[in-house]
Symmetry: C3
Subunit: 356 residues, 3 copies
């Protein structure tokens, strides 16, 4: 979609430096955007690209405006303002309202006004879809399912068991919500399956990535609060709860019954143990294992950066004998203590505090 810069400035409350009648109809990078395209500058390390920029307009901070050779929209938070404008220029594809002839909607399902059910989709008898909900091609909704107004399941999403989703959710292909949690009771002859009878409750404005799985609770519910954002291939086990606005990157795994606070960030491949708590505003760096509750906001890590494998093998060999290193050090300390007692003319031992 095309828009005049003057119109965008007014709509998003931005100052405009340049001709309000210039039109942009898409986005591009600072480096590659052409005259009809909108770019943005948020990261100072790309400031050097500004001089040669040929975009139709750049969204940037006030401090960068003087150096901008093309029209600029000036924003306090250029990245967020860019994101809002980009959504106007590139609206998500609209799937026509109504039920595709190849879809199956069982009698009993309740579809609000403007609902779209795509090709090859299945909507079971106990499903309730709010106004304007889009169910993409190949989705399966089978169980006690409610999806709130304006939510979109892109394609081939599966909701089973008991799942409630809020408004304006965006769920990507391959995601599975409501499958059984991994509940097993050991018994003499092996495992007894523990029936999983809870549900999944998802708030408003939640995004869930491709092939991510969110299990139903064993007894109570698994809960994603408003504004939670999950990337691809994340595993959320039964009875986990994740607080408002927390964002988890790809391949994170959260074990059962763990409670994650609000505004938490977990980077890619983080693993979180079960039955623990993570406080609000905790940040965990990539590939870290969170094994105990984290009570205080702050940044946590346990990731080992890759090095040459020849060096690494030596490091691992030493690490596995770190106890020996410690014992040898202790022995030296003892010996030296004795030695200095003997040799120190004043007969004084070194301060204990330095040696322990």
């Amino acid at each position: 979609m095309a828009a005049r810069l003057g119109e965008l400035a007014g709509r998003f409350g931005l100052a405009l430096s340049g001709d309000p009648d210039v039109v942009v109809s898409g986005v591009g990078t600072l480096q590659d955007a052409g005259p009809g395209e909108l770019a943005f500058l948020a990261n100072p390390r790309y400031r050097k690209l500004l001089a040669d920029c040929r975009a139709g307009c750049v969204v940037l901070a006030a401090a960068d405006a003087p150096a901008c050779p093309v029209p600029a929209l000036i924003a306090d938070n250029p990245y967020a303002s860019y994101a809002r404008i980009a959504a106007v220029l590139h609206p998500p594809p609209v799937q026509a309202a109504g039920v595709h002839p190849s879809a199956v909607v069982e009698p009993g399902a309740v579809l609000g006004p403007g609902v779209s059910v795509g090709a090859q989709a299945y909507v079971g008898a106990s499903v309730v879809l709010g106004a304007g909900v889009t169910i993409g091609p190949g989705c399966v909704l089978d169980g006690a399912i409610a999806v709130g107004e304006g939510s979109r399941l892109v394609a081939r999403v599966t909701l089973v068991g008991s799942v409630t989703i809020g408004r304006r959710a965006l769920i990507h292909p391959g995601a599975v919500l409501g499958a059984d949690g991994f509940g097993l009771a050991p018994d003499r002859d092996g495992w007894v399956k523990v029936p999983q009878v809870g549900g999944v409750r998802v708030g408003d404005d939640v995004e869930i990535g491709a092939n991510t799985t969110v299990d139903r609770g064993a007894i109570g519910d698994t809960v994603l609060a408003d504004g939670v954002k999950l990337d691809n291939q994340i595993q959320i086990a039964h009875n986990v709860s994740i607080g408002r606005g927390s964002a988890l990157a790809a391949q994170v795994g959260v074990s059962g019954s763990t409670r994650i606070g609000a505004g938490v960030l977990l980077a890619g491949q983080v693993g979180v143990a079960g039955h623990i708590e993570i406080a609000d505003r905790v940040v965990v760096l990539g590939s870290t294992s969170v094994t105990n509750s984290i009570r205080e906001a702050g940044e946590y890590a346990s990731m080992l950066p890759g090095v040459r494998s020849t060096s690494w093998r030596r490091i691992v060999a030493r690490l596995q004998r770190i106890e020996e290193l410690h014992q040898r050090l202790k022995a030296l300390e003892k010996t030296l203590d004795k030695t200095t007692r003997v040799t120190d003319p004043a007969g004084q031992a070194p301060d204990d505090g330095e040696n322990t």
Copy 2:
């Protein structure tokens, strides 16, 4: 479903303390269960909740019965007995027998009595489904596939290539069994694909989680023995075999041709190298890398617990120079040895054994 306590006590061989005519019709937690609900107490740390419990009945060990203010079913293994009763109170949803009008069953497919094929499912010409098998909505079975009596594919499960599944399997949405293993032969001009012609063989009473993948063998089969339990997003590579009753938690990856014994437990995100063996009853803690065969039962780990990232960076910096630490220690030991030789009135060096 509702049941009288007396009936449950008889059916599961449990002692009942309280009125046999009390009826329960669902489960709840010890904390939240109301009068018509069944709770359980297995973990001693929840014993303190017993006093205020308002459940219709609690399944618990004999030792806890006196402190229980409501009727109790007394069990040797309260969790397993709870699981069995919960399955009576919450039977899995039943999909009506027969083929949904939107499903496709190719001529040639063999369907046993009572088979149910759900909406939008596809059953290819070489598929054989045993009595009472349930194929949920959106499943695809395409290839030489056999599924044993009473097994249930919840929804959107994919079986391709050559897959044999035993009785009473439960397979969750998004699981893929029988896709090609990752077989590549390096050649001058790049990779030559190695055809994957083996199958997947799954025993009885196996559960497979959402979005888990089990590849077909390169030549022979990939094998999951009876009672194997796989959580979500697990990757089982070609020609792996997993022994009876082993349970793998979410996001575990097992590389090709590895043999895992019986009764093995792998916690979340564990990675297992290829072409190795893991003995019976081995337990591997979360996020551990298993790089060599494990010949003895026991508990294994290599996971690093997350700490403040500022501390962690210092630890990593020191670890990467651990060789230097060792060298300095060695130098000190030498010097001290010399020093003590010089200064020790008796002229005796410290015992070598202490220093190496």
Copy 3:
């Protein structure tokens, strides 16, 4: 399919030792193959199995031919030659050309000659399929999608947004290409979604594993070059590019905008940070975290091998206090320096170089 050894020797340029009229019709392992089956010997550690081999023929190196008790096809690269012959003996299943009656192909879609669209599949209005493309059962192609000649989407593959795939691709079930990248701009009230408007561009001869996800670019494209091979459950974030012939094993995650060179090998569960570069021919061992750019070919690692958990707990406790170890060592060095100054008859301090 069956073939005479003489015919295979001619077709693949191999020397034959033995009767050219022997027929093989399938493959088997060196250990288990019977008279009508073809085996191979590539890894010297299996050489000892040759003496008892009963295969119809073994593909092997010239050096192993004299010890082979059955007919042999002699190859410079036995594994690659085996792979090529196996593809003749076990051709992939052919799905009949044409559109299955249960599939939906929207008006506007362009299907080349010989295209096959399987049961329950969906092909949207803006899809272009080259000659001989096979779309397996349950696939969803919804968006601006182009698939090149001879490519095969096995089953239940999802392509959305904007995806271009080259010739002879092989994409396994559950793979999702073109879903939104994880783009979020933080703002006062939470996250603002950054529209993902780029595409996914895949070269020729690419293989993509089951349940792998490749996100569309935020602005430009996410790119997989010719000959890239991705195993199962891999996550490729937005704007990543992967060079020619690189192969990634299962459960690898690559974060946004990272550029991976040609001929790179990443083993299972490797995690790669965003906005970095990995040079050509880098090899990264399993479960390693790549946190910084790697500029030189070679092998890299940071994986910790699992050990007994009791030992591991002690190692971790020492590691977390490695700074203390260092401080104590430093203190010892100082003390000893002083001690030796005092006690050394020659008054000489130990060489600084040894102590730092």
